[in-house]
């Protein structure tokens, strides 16, 4: 009898927690898995944009970061797609176009359909950089050289199927030239070092890092692979489109938060209402600005549209590879 009673009370207690679940969510701290190492740009920004989560008017519970680095993000997203709990207490940071391009190339356990976006916090466009003493003064100098010397223009970037690689592919396609893309191990910093040291003739890198390097006087920025100029950091640098290359914003590195597919709708709704507020908090904005990290807050709806658009552009671009 005692046993039955115990089971009964337990199941009632369990039911109580499941029903209370969506309403009281979140009741405990939420983890955010970052697919890159501690100290990288994604990790660094994820820590900043989630720092006010514990405020009463945001989520009321703090967010902590779990780093799952490896294989250009594949390790973390594989883990997130297959093993993460679908209860809203595990989120992940996404990097577009990285994970979408990887899933198109195959060999991973996720696609854009495995995840539900919550909101976007940042957009870091790819830029074309050259060393400060380079003979290339404009994008057209660079393209002219590539046209005259097929297979001679070396171009560094942070790896394969990341924004930098996508931008390089788009430039090749738009200008009808053949360049040599050199992926580096060790991310954007190693790719930037290759440009500064003159190991390569040019490079594709993040706007935020290139802006710092240009301020430090070690590189020149020739073009931005985005739809508009960056008015805050680089108002004088033309977009690639202005330079006569048909390159859109498919290589822009969008960063935001997502949950695995199968997470309760009520949780998704709550998160997609509150997370953009968190990203917009003035303390977050201040820190992000100080770090030179461009922000772009997008709601769940906007991110869904952006993902769908990237999927088709990238499938087209990567078809021949």
């Amino acid at each position: 009898m005692k046993k039955i009673l115990a089971i009964l009370t337990m199941s009632v207690a369990l039911m109580a927690t499941t029903t209370a679940y969506a309403g009281d969510y979140p009741e405990r701290p939420i983890g955010v898995a970052v697919s890159y190492g501690a100290g990288g740009a994604t990790d660094f920004q994820a820590r900043i944009v989630t720092m006010v989560a514990g405020n009463k008017d945001i989520l009321g519970q703090p967010i902590y970061i779990i780093n799952k680095p490896g294989a250009g993000g594949r390790v973390g997203w594989n883990w997130f797609a297959t093993e993460a709990e679908k209860d809203g207490y595990t989120m992940s940071a996404y990097n577009v176009p990285h994970f979408i391009a990887q899933s198109i190339k195959g060999g991973v356990k996720y696609s854009a359909d495995s995840f539900e976006p919550i909101a976007n916090w940042g957009a870091d466009p790819a830029v074309v950089v050259v060393g400060k003493d380079s003979k290339f003064k404009t994008m057209s100098d660079l393209v002219a050289f590539a046209k005259a010397n097929p297979g001679k223009l070396t171009l560094s970037g942070a790896g394969l199927f990341v924004g930098h690689h996508i931008a390089a592919l788009q430039i090749e396609k738009a200008a009808g030239v053949k360049m040599v893309y050199i992926p580096t191990k060790g991310g954007g910093a190693a790719a930037m070092k290759a440009v500064i040291a003159g190991d390569v003739l040019a490079g594709v890198n993040n706007l935020s890092d290139a802006f710092r390097a240009q301020k430090a006087g070690s590189v020149k920025i020739l073009g931005v692979a985005d739809l508009e100029r960056d008015k805050k950091f680089l108002p004088d640098v033309p977009t690639l489109k202005e330079a006569g290359l048909d390159v859109d914003n498919a290589s822009v590195n969008f960063r935001g938060l997502m949950v695995p597919k199968g997470t309760p709708q009520a949780v998704i709704d709550k998160l997609s209402a509150q997370v953009p507020v968190m990203f917009g908090h003035k303390r977050v904005a201040k820190r992000m600005k100080a770090g030179g990290s461009p922000m772009k807050i997008m709601t769940r709806k906007e991110v869904q549209a952006m993902w769908a658009k990237r999927k088709s552009t990238l499938a087209e671009l990567l078809k021949g590879l």
Binding site: A38, G70, A71, P183, D199, A216
Partner: protein, 503 residues
């Protein structure tokens, strides 16, 4: 001499408390297997959000320096190098601890860390503009040759047999190929999900060093009468200091090697200790005592891995290029306060930059004081009965491997590698060359592939890899290192043959 005027900032109450806290905390974190310097610094970043820029940097700098030194504690007492920087420390340090000289080994480790550390920071203060150019001189072809130079060390490192040393190195090189290759975009040897990201170097390190030892302790069983309780002989500080001074050669080779390697971006502190250890061994008169608990080994390794810290910040502070993973995390700590490193850092943010550097100088002294205090307490670990120690080490190993990236996969890899290493050790193979192979493999491979791509766009690989002063210099070092290894092996073999004849 501008840096002298900012010492006062370090002694402001809050700054000094942070320096003290960072140093002590770093020593403890460093002594915990699995918590590498990079992770310790990354964990502290959120705390710096609320501090003034120079205070935040003091905390991070203190943690960086002292975690590397703290790693010596577990390397010496438990034979678990907390990070790649401390592998070489374990080679002689742990044998010393087994002989009852644990306290001495720890004293030497901290004192030589401080000497190397101070010189490294002084280089950062005085030679930054000169050395910044150096950092950029190393392109893919040079880094490839440096990695190959490291590979030549493999044969002579901590192994009774040259051939077995090379074989262990090859196993390490093969293990390093597992995972997703970022440059060619292919997957290699991924049999299990846990291997997608390759073998984590810290997890491998813990498994290869700690697990064979645990199995060894357990395999002896309880029946054997020598449940050996190691005595820890008392060691006076003065005697340790004299010992260090009398080994000036090891100390200076360690410091010089560490400083040079520290500047080169991308190679960093992982191999500074091992290369310094090997160089000292080659030059030392007591060459054959290395590996049997020889103080020179500990001195060379520890002075090198802390001498690396100062110069490793040069590319970061002057060129905004983080030369090591830890420097990348420090860059985050700077950016969060809107400080962009670069040539004008010392002009625009002189107070922050110099206070940070000064605090690293003072941090070295705090590190040696508290390090030795902690060492005296920690040395008692050696007195724990072996059977209990075995269990404790195993728990630490599992905890350490898991904490690297919260992954059970890493724990499985750690145990599998450890069990494999236990049997390999039975046949005379050793862990250090294997780990070196694991570290150098990716450096050699990725730089070769990148160099090859670049060479393809220029005049071909032969010209790219084999011409230029720096390439030729590095190649001659490689040849010298190989010849030297052969020569010593031949000499030792002849000596053995002679002594057999005499019998």
């Amino acid at each position: 001499m501008e840096f002298l005027s900012y010492f006062g900032n370090v002694f402001e109450p809050i700054s000094f408390m942070l320096l003290l806290g960072g140093t002590i905390g770093g020593l403890i974190l460093g002594a915990t297997p699995g918590l590498s310097p990079t992770m310790a610094v990354a964990l502290l970043i959120p705390f710096t959000f609320h501090l003034a820029p120079h205070q935040g940097l003091i905390l991070l700098g203190a943690a960086y320096t002292s975690t590397i030194a703290g790693g010596a504690v577990s390397a010496i007492l438990l034979n678990i190098p907390g990070a790649p920087a401390n592998i070489a420390t374990a080679l002689d340090g742990h044998v010393m601890a087994k002989k009852g000289e644990g306290a001495k080994a720890l004293h030497l480790a901290f004192m030589s860390s401080a000497v190397g550390g101070v010189i490294g920071v002084l280089l950062l203060i005085f030679l930054t503009p000169v050395l910044a150019k150096w950092a950029l001189a190393f392109g893919p072809s040079h880094l490839f040759w440096i990695a190959i130079l490291g590979v030549t060390v493999i044969g002579t490192l901590d192994s009774k047999s040259f051939v077995k040393g090379l074989l262990s190195g090859c196993i390490g090189l093969w293990l390093s190929m597992i995972g997703y290759d970022d440059i060619q975009g292919v997957q290699r040897f991924i049999f299990a999900d846990a291997l997608t990201g390759g073998i984590n170097i810290i997890a491998a390190l813990i498994g290869l060093f700690a697990i064979p030892q645990v199995m060894e302790m357990l395999s002896r069983g309880r029946t054997i009468t020598d449940i050996d309780v190691i005595t820890v002989r008392h060691q006076s500080l003065l005697a340790s200091f004299r010992e260090m001074i009398s080994n000036m050669k090891a100390l200076s080779i360690g410091t010089i090697t560490g400083s040079i390697i520290g500047i080169i971006p991308g190679v960093g502190g992982q191999i500074a200790g091992l290369v310094a250890y090997d160089q000292t061994k080659k030059i030392s008169r007591d060459r054959r005592k290395f590996g049997t608990g020889h103080p020179e080994g500990v001195i060379a390794a520890e002075s090198a891995n802390n001498a690396m810290v100062g110069p490793s910040l040069i590319p970061l502070l002057t060129l905004s290029i983080p030369g090591s993973p830890t420097a990348a995390v420090l860059l985050g700590g700077l950016l969060i306060h809107g400080i962009f490193p670069g040539p004008d850092l010392f002009k625009n943010h002189a107070a922050v930059a110099w206070t940070f550097i000064d605090s690293m100088l003072i941090g070295q002294f705090l590190m040696v004081i508290f390090g030795i205090y902690i060492a005296n307490l920690a040395a008692k670990i050696a007195q724990v009965p072996r059977s209990i120690l075995a269990a404790g080490v195993f728990i630490l190993a599992v905890f350490g491997a898991y904490s690297v990236q919260q992954s059970m996969g890493d724990v499985h890899v750690m145990i599998a590698l450890g069990v494999g290493m236990f049997f390999l050790e039975k046949y005379g193979f050793s862990a250090a060359p294997l780990v070196l192979g694991l570290i150098l493999g990716p450096i050699a491979e990725s730089n070769f592939l990148q160099g090859n791509l670049i060479a393809g766009a220029q005049d071909g690989p032969a010209i790219y890899f084999l011409t230029g002063y720096l390439n030729l210099f590095l190649i001659s070092l490689v040849i010298l290192s190989i010849c030297f290894a052969f020569w010593t092996t031949l000499k030792v073999n002849r000596l053995i043959a002679l002594s057999k004849e005499a019998e």
